[in-house]
Amino acid sequence: MTIVVSSSDTRSLAKGTASGLRPPAPRRSARMRALAPILSRIGWAMASIGLFAGLWELLWLVGLADPKLLPPPHVFLGNFADQAKFFNTATRWQIGVAANAGPSPFQAVMITVGATGGRVIAGLIIASVLAITLGVLVRYFALVEKLVLPTVTLLSPVSPIAWLPVAIFVFGIGNAPAIFMVVVALFFHMVLSTITQIDGVNRNLINVARTMGATKWQIYKRVIVPAILPGLLMVLRLNMFGAWMVVLIAESTGVGFGLGQVITMARNTFNPSLVFFTIALIGLLGFLSDWLLRLVQKRLLYWVPQATGGLRGL
């Protein structure tokens, strides 16, 4: 008897083991059971993307989507090497180097992704550290609040685009202005939301610490910081998408290589396939980084109950 196990068979397999039809393999079925929800989530994600891509393909098939302007997924994803050659990072500005020299197309894409991702991460880290520190200081010292908060509030509605010339004036061209742009896009909001988080800390927790003789410093360190961590990580997650958006604008001004630079090149050379290819890449990266941050959140914030669609029963 041969048994073919596919993901949809896991349940019947588990049932079979339980009733003793097969020799018991408890470890395996337990792993299967743990895997089932993950497989189902991946399945639904595929279905969601598939639906979107399918509609697009359909529009192309019936001739509503012009492949020159809106090339469907199978066109812009179909020929990886063809797209990846535009990512070539080695030969672009060098004279006397053969067009085929340097990294392979796949490596070139990875280098570009790495460069952009690095800027996002660097910007996020710098912005978070600065903003959380300043936010806590604003609440800790009344003088800091009076001196800093008005300016922060004044600057926070300014679009990152407006900072672009400043970035170039001050930092020239390269990594520094791109990272500066990410920082400036996130910093002011994160200061304000850190303050909001601090104000939202349950008064009882603070009062308990006070009645136990905790000093102000101890209350901040032992109560307020852990209490605002969940909210801050949520803010960080939302701002990470913002960081991915801003980094493209920053990179379009001219950096060695980066996804923003590729998009700009695609626009200038009228290459819609490359635009969509890069968009797909960015989407994937944003999705992955969000997943990573959620993982961090789960590990770091073990005490926060996992949100699972509370309104599903409606």
């Binding site: 003789g213 852990p226 926060v304």
Partner: protein
């Protein structure tokens, strides 16, 4: 049963060794603003060491406010509060406060919560864990040491909060409707448990409640508050012998007395709220 309130001389006040002594205490929230409202007016009250006193009154009468003032978490607008001859101006580990809602730190385990105050004092982890274990044994939750607060039921959480308060060896235990969020059966269990703990610890307990039954079951004296602004309407001595038979004729009489005292105040509080709604 109603004791008459004699004005105390100030000499008596300053030399007394009361667990808590309030003289002319008043509190106005948001003083000097359009939103100012008077929560407490002219409170004179002495609590003896080891005494169990219940604060009873309509909601919004300022009984919880008085508790916060005694804890030192808020400043009085007028008058003075002393505890064991020391002026209350800041919170102190001598006066532990237990809240209605759970106030455990969700990121700490049960034993870390219980020993939080000790860690504030810089005590080492091993020693703290020992003390926490003993305190948790005292409240019957020794097995829950390493659990997190969200894994416990409401009653268990309040017991952990009591254990945490007790590790500070407070002289006064301030309780702000600690069992209000629990179901009736759990609340009765918790009342028995609290009486045990109280008799053991020798601390004074100030217990805010709006349940007449709770005041009858627990307190040596019941302080009845008027509707806003909160003043002491009267103080009722509760001499029912412990352990108390809550179905005795005396208990019934006390309940009736308290109900009548409270009814007028609740009516007044309602009338005032109605008036406020009409002006709004």
């Amino acid at each position: 049963m109603v004791s008459d309130i004699k004005p105390h001389s100030s000499a008596d006040f300053h030399s007394s060794n009361h667990a808590v002594a309030c003289r002319g205490v008043s509190k106005v929230w948001n003083e000097d603003t359009p939103r100012a409202h008077e929560a407490l007016r002219d409170i004179d009250l002495d609590i003896r060491p080891g005494e169990f006193v219940a604060f009873l009154g309509p909601s919004g009468c300022g009984k919880s406010t008085l508790l916060y003032l005694i804890a030192g978490l808020e400043d009085t607008t007028g008058g003075e509060i002393r505890s064991f001859d020391e002026r209350v101006s800041t919170p102190s580990p001598d006066r532990s406060l237990i809240f209605q809602e759970t106030s455990l730190f969700p990121w700490l385990t049960v034993w870390q919560n219980v020993s939080f105050g000790l860690s504030i004092r810089g005590m080492g982890a091993d020693e703290r864990k020992d003390i926490a274990r003993k305190a948790l044994q005292r409240v019957g939750l020794a097995e829950a040491m390493d659990k997190r607060p969200d894994e416990l039921s409401g009653g268990m959480r309040q017991r952990v909060a009591v254990a945490r308060a007790l590790t500070m060896r407070p002289k006064v235990l301030l309780m702000d409707e600690p069992f209000a969020a629990l179901d009736v059966q759990t609340r009765q269990k918790m009342q028995d448990f609290l009486l045990d703990v109280w008799q053991d610890s020798g601390a004074s307990v100030l217990f805010v409640t709006h349940h007449i039954d709770e005041a009858v079951a627990l307190a040596d004296r019941v302080v009845v508050f008027t509707a806003r602004p909160g003043r002491i309407k009267t103080i009722v001595q509760n001499d029912l012998p412990r352990p108390r038979d809550l179905f005795s004729r005396e208990a019934e009489g006390l309940r009736r007395q308290l109900t009548e005292l409270l009814r007028d105040e609740v009516d007044r509080a309602f009338a005032e709220q109605e008036a406020l709604r009409e002006t709004a």
